[in-house]
Structure formats: C-alpha cells, structure tokens
C-alpha cells in the first residue's frame, strides 16, 4: 500500500486540524469499533463556509482526506461544498490505494452531516444526496 507524496504531506502536516468553538454545523461520522471516525466543524456566513476544522481518528488516508476535504470546501458555498465528491478528494490527493478509497467517502459524508446540521439548526429540511 503506497500513499502518494500529497497524501503523506497532508497526513504529516494536516491543514485545518482542530475544532471550532461556536461552530454553525458539526458532522460526525464513522465508528471507532470497526472503522474511522471523522468530525467536521463549520463556521458559516450566509451560505458560505468561512472556516472549517476537522478531528479524525483513523489511518493515514483518513487524516489526509480530512485535511484535503477541508481545504477544498473552505470559502465555498454550502452547495459547492455539498457537491464535493469523495472522488474529487481522492484525486486532489493524487489518488488513494484501492483499499483506502472508503476513507475519502467518510470525508464526503462528514461534510454532508455538518451542512445538514447547520440546515437543521435553521429549522429547514435536511438535504438529500
């Protein structure tokens, strides 16, 4: 199993690691018993993501995916962020080993959760894929 240089960079120097205190949306997905856990914190102004942080329990690919995904949605509108696919995350990392592709899925799901958390807080109907 080989990680690209990009994966290793994001793994060893993760961007946007941490939490946001008064965040506008939080998404947590996964399960430590049988997989990785990813938590995304969003600060949102209007429909734009102004700040994003992550916490991840998981392998190198999971951490790198979190880092890359948060980079990719920072400054984007909620709709743009929603459309970020796991494929785009993996591609931005110059690919992931086949058995690690599911890690980028987790990032996509965590972002969706965080966005819907925000939407729910506003009393609206959550978005669906």
């Amino acid at each position: 199993m080989d990680y690209s240089a990009k994966v290793m960079d994001h793994f060893l120097n993760p961007r946007n690691m941490g939490s946001i205190e008064n965040s506008d949306g939080i998404g947590e997905v996964g399960n430590a018993k049988c997989g990785d856990v990813m938590k995304i914190f969003l600060k949102i102004e209007g429909d734009r993501i102004t700040e994003v942080k992550f916490q991840t329990f998981g392998c190198g690919a999971a951490i790198a995916s979190s880092s890359m995904a948060t980079e990719l949605i920072k400054g984007k509108t909620l709709e743009e962020a929603w459309r970020l696919s796991n494929k785009a995350v993996a591609e931005a990392l110059d690919g992931l080993p086949p058995i690690k592709v599911h890690c980028s899925m987790l990032a996509e799901e965590a972002i969706h959760e965080a966005i819907n958390d925000h939407i729910r807080k506003k009393g609206l109907e959550p978005w669906i894929d």
């Binding site: 290793m8 947590e28 916490q55 392998c59 190198g60 058995i99």
Partner: protein
C-alpha cells in the same frame, strides 16, 4: 540502528533508523550470508545429483539438519526442511489430520494462533474435521484445565503456539505437552517466534511436531523446518521427488538451508547473552511507555518473549501511529506484520478481551540485537509526542488528554 553483523556485504548503516520490527523479520547475519553465497555460486549442485557437486550440496544439507536438530533437542532424521513457518504449520495440521482421520476428526487449537494455523484449521473444517478454538485469558494464556476439558475421544491433534507473535505471551508448553502425551494425542507447537529466545527441548517438552522459520532469527526468508517425532503418522503436503526422506518434495533450497543451519546455531548459542540485553531494553521501553496516560500493556507482564513490547494507546489508531513513527525513522508494527496492510483488527487482542474501540491503537515494538539502549531512549522521546499529536487530532480524545 547498527546492523552490526552485516558490514562488508554492501550494507549502508543508516544511523538515524531504528528497526523495532524483528518479529516481522530480521536481517540475515553476515556469516550466514557468506555461507549462502557459496552455495548459490560455487557449490550450486542439486543434492540429488550423483556427482561431486551434488554430493557437496547433500552434505551441506545434512550438516544443517544436524544443527537444527541440536538446537531443539531432536534427532537429525526428525528434521524436515520446508519453505517457511507457514508451510510447516500447514503441513503439521493438514498432514496429521489426513493421516489420522480414521482415528478421529477433532483438533484443538487456540484462538490466538498465527493465521497459518488458523486458516489451515478452517480449511480442514471444510474437509469435515472439527476444530475447537480454545479461548485465552487477558494475558493471552491458554488454560491447561480448559484444554483438558476440550479433549474428546476422537481428538487427534493439539496445536498450541509456543509464544505469540503479537503479544509475546509464552504458553505453558511443557504442561500442554504432558496433557497431550497422557491422552495419546499429537502435540504440535508453532515455535516460529521462539527460536533464539527460549531454549527448546522437544523431548523434555513432549512435543511431537514443531514449526520454525529462518527469517525470524537472522536466517534466510523462504526456509523453515518442521520437526516430526519419529513414528508420527503424517501425510505429505507437497508431493513429488524423493527429497527429505520422501516426505517433502522439491529441489532443496540448499543456500537457504545452509543459512538456516548456521543462523539457528548462532541464535541458540547466544540465547542467554542476548536475552539479558533484550530484557533490559524491553523493560525500559515498557516502563517508559506505561507512563503515557491511557496506555495499556498487552500480553503477559513476565511470561513474555524478551523482544516483545505491545501496548495500546487509547483514542488513536495504529496505522497513523506507525506512519508517523516511520517518518521519524522508527520501524514498527501494529499487531502482526501480516495484517498491517489490511483492515482487520487483531484477532489476538480481541481474544484477550481488549475492547474493540481501543484495539486499533495497538503498537508492537519487537527488538533485535541491532537495537541499543540509545534507540530505546530515542523511541521514548519520540513516541509520546506522536501519541499526543494524534490524540489532539482525534475526535475521541477527552479534553483532559488534549494539549491543544
């Protein structure tokens, strides 16, 4: 790391690297490599050939066989060379099962065996055998009492490993051997992790079959042996020519067999001396690591291999830990090497009752004679920082264990 036994054969010693993955594999000793080269080039004959080159190879094999026999207290004619520990384990289990199927169809093993035992047993179950997988206690120990109660009229084989590759726990082999003998059941033990660490005496320990593997004691990869006590009824696994007293076919891997012979001689001669050094390093590491909060030692505190350290760090995951260690030049494993590229969690830690949510934060450091106390200090300096970094990153870490 100083691979101090490899100079002169093209090794560049990288002083910044610390190799603590000796249970996965070891570098081949210098003397061993030199012996092997001779049999790849000048003395390359096929041992079955009748001419001088063939005879030279034949003698070399028999000489190596003597050394293996001596190392475990067996007779020469009881040693059979194989392609490694995995083949030895497969042969022992399938060979005994097939050859004794009209005596019985029941086999007893433990739930913490190496996959080469477990998966051979599962295959055998598909051939209409029945296998009991004994549980272990939290230290990874099999209970002789539970073993006794698992024995049935048609039990033909007990296969319990001598010491575990992940957690280093050493089983009460002699006691198990006695129970097997009293019940006239064959006793096989996987001693792959044991050679060079614990003196073995197959006679005293009532062992009927024993697996070993060259690359775990600074010998070659791709070469192991199975000890088969004289009189044991066992079927052949690899059929063909008349090699290995007609029990294991295939042109003998002469260079590797020569290397294994030399390596086992060196390793067993040095047990006392090397264990003293390894114990000191092992215990310093364990003492140091245990001071990290929410860190647990896996395996038995004392009944454990001199070179094995296995700990669990709560809230973090093993692969990311290993990768960060690697980035700092420290080479280690999570559980067994065989699984580090897969997603499975350790069946050994699971059997020891480690909770699933913390099982994934396990780290195995396995020492070798290339390690020094300086390496130990270095690891104790670097590891806590990495654990902290990953805890800060993890959504599972309670606030009190965060520094950020």
């Amino acid at each position: 790391m100083v691979i101090n036994n490899c100079e002169g054969v093209g090794v560049t010693v990288e002083n910044m690297k610390i190799y603590m993955d000796n249970s996965a594999t070891t570098p081949v000793k210098k003397e061993v490599v030199e012996n092997m080269i001779l049999y790849m080039t000048e003395n390359f004959g096929n041992p079955s050939s009748i001419h001088d080159l063939g005879k030279t190879s034949k003698h070399a094999i028999e000489n190596a066989r003597k050394k293996v026999a001596k190392a475990i207290g067996a007779g020469e004619s009881e040693i059979y060379f194989t392609s490694g520990g995995t083949e030895s384990n497969n042969w022992a289990i399938k060979g005994i099962a097939f050859a004794n199927r009209n005596r019985g169809k029941h086999i007893i093993t433990s739930s913490i065996e190496h996959h080469s035992v477990l998966h051979a047993c599962e295959w055998i179950e598909g051939q209409k055998f029945e296998v009991t997988y004994l549980p272990v206690d939290k230290y990874g120990l099999v209970s002789p009492e539970e073993l006794k109660s698992a024995i049935k009229d048609d039990t033909i084989l007990i296969s319990i490993m001598f010491a575990n590759n992940e957690i280093g726990t050493i089983q009460p082999v002699e006691e198990i051997g006695k129970i097997a003998r009293e019940n006239r059941i064959y006793f096989h033990t996987d001693a792959v992790q044991v050679v060079g660490h614990i003196p073995i005496d197959v006679t005293k320990m009532n062992i009927d079959l024993l697996s070993l593997s060259g690359h775990k004691f600074q010998g070659p990869k791709g070469c192991g042996a199975l000890y088969i006590k004289t009189g044991t009824k066992i079927e052949t696994l690899i059929h063909g020519g008349d090699q290995e007293r007609k029990r294991r076919a295939g042109t003998e891997n002469v260079p590797a067999i020569v290397g294994l012979g030399k390596a086992i001689e060196l390793a067993t001669d040095e047990i006392e001396e090397s264990n003293k050094i390894l114990f000191e390093m092992r215990d310093s590491l364990i003492r140091g690591l245990i001071t990290i909060p929410k860190t647990h030692l896996n395996g038995h505190p004392t009944q454990r291999l001199a070179n094995n350290i296995n700990v669990n760090f709560e809230y973090i995951e093993g692969e990311s830990l290993l990768l960060m260690l690697n980035a700092k030049g420290i080479f280690a494993s999570a559980g067994s090497a065989c699984n580090s590229s897969s997603l499975e969690t350790s069946h050994v830690l699971t059997a020891c009752g480690v909770k699933p949510e913390i099982i994934r934060g396990s780290l195995r450091l396995s020492l070798g004679m290339m390690n020094t106390l300086k390496d130990v200090d270095k690891v104790l300096e670097i590891l806590p920082e990495i654990v902290q970094k990953l805890r800060n990153m993890s959504p599972l870490t309670p606030q009190e264990y965060r520094t950020l």
